[in-house]
Symmetry: C2
Subunit: 197 residues, 2 copies
DNA sequence: TAAAAGTCTTAAACTAGTTCATTTTTTTTC
DNA sequence: GAAAAAAAATGAACTAGTTTAAGACTTTTA
């Protein structure tokens, strides 16, 4: 049975942590919705209750909040083979504080809350998959929440460049500033300084 | 069957997400090690490969790294009913970069890596427990890594006070500064300013 | 393909947070 | 319970990052 590219990508991703039979793969795929988002349009907006968790098969999106002064703070850039969404809202059913906007034409696979719950009933192995997925994300976030506090903006920029060389040339400097946590003006200074070194 | 207080505490904690039979409770408890740490002594130190994940039944501990200049950065305070350890090292078997030191005489229940893996084999329900536990921690960390970047030190202090009123009066101002991400001197200024308001 | 909108750069004046040094207060230890 | 050690307060000089403003460069859109 031939899988289309996007399904192959998600099955490979899941396959890193658990083994699925052909039947289970079919079942899993049947629970996923295909979503396309054009560049500069929203996958979701603050105020909505998140109905899906997403896996990106193509493109790039930014996940961000706006603070009281309307200044954006980007919490992640999501590209191919990444999972994204607002887990807090997805789980608690409270309105999200996040916007997710495509920075390139993008394609995603979404799982609804109903199907997410069904998945654990039908294929309990997925408890293990998500246990490990969340464990790994947690390790990343713990590291990142320390970086945020203990490194200077310049160090955070160098670290981002080293860790995500494939993402840095797909995003604007302004968005990078909103991720690093500084003004676009100061980002510009840092970049010209680092390039001069 | 009467459980001792510490075991009752951990069984209640687990019971929030999954239901265990009496036999499963006994089995689970048999996989836990009891650990005591005196105030100002280490539960673990950087360089070690973490062998346990811990649940605190009594006391308070701080989890921290030292940066290149030897300045401590506290990533969490763990009190009764909290889970702690260095998950990155526990999972990857790489040396930890964290110290965990008791700030009060403390008592913990630890699960070794071998028993952690055994647990999933013997009581697969625990995949669900950890899936939900990690999911919730993740939600907290995502929130916190945004706070770190988007709030001022004064706002982070007010937020900590509001969220952890039970922890704030058990720790020193110096440790709080190392958690908030500022110098003890500036922490002192913020506190006297906020109290004057 | 021209005009409009958004992004990037540079610079001067400003503010949040640091550093260093000293004194007072609290906690620990024998 | 006195002496020693650690934590907290205060202040002056400093630095990383912000704000505001203006001009140059790039991308988007009609």
């Amino acid at each position: 049975m031939e899988l289309k590219y996007s399904h192959k990508l998600i099955i490979d991703n899941v396959g890193r942590f658990i083994d699925l039979t052909e039947l289970e793969k079919q079942k899993y795929i049947s629970l996923l919705a295909e979503v396309k988002v054009k560049k500069k349009t929203f996958l979701m907006q603050a105020g909505e209750i998140t109905k899906y968790e997403y896996f990106i098969t193509k493109g790039c999106l930014k996940v961000y909040t706006l603070d009281e002064d309307g200044v954006p703070h980007i919490s992640m850039f999501a590209v191919e083979d990444y999972w994204t969404g607002d887990m807090a809202s997805f789980i608690t059913k409270e309105p999200s504080r996040y916007f997710i906007k495509a920075t390139e034409d993008s394609e995603l696979l979404g799982i609804s809350r109903a199907n997410y719950e069904l998945l654990f009933k039908e294929i309990p192995k997925f408890e293990k998959f998500y246990r490990i997925l969340y464990q790994r994300s947690l390790i990343n976030y713990i590291r990142r929440s320390n970086y945020g506090i203990s490194l200077t903006a310049e160090e955070r920029y160098i670290e981002f460049k080293r860790k995500y060389p494939n993402i840095i040339n797909r995003i604007t400097q302004k968005d990078l500033a909103a991720y690093i946590g500084i003004t676009p003006e100061f980002m510009s200074k840092i970049i010209s300084k680092v390039n001069r070194m």
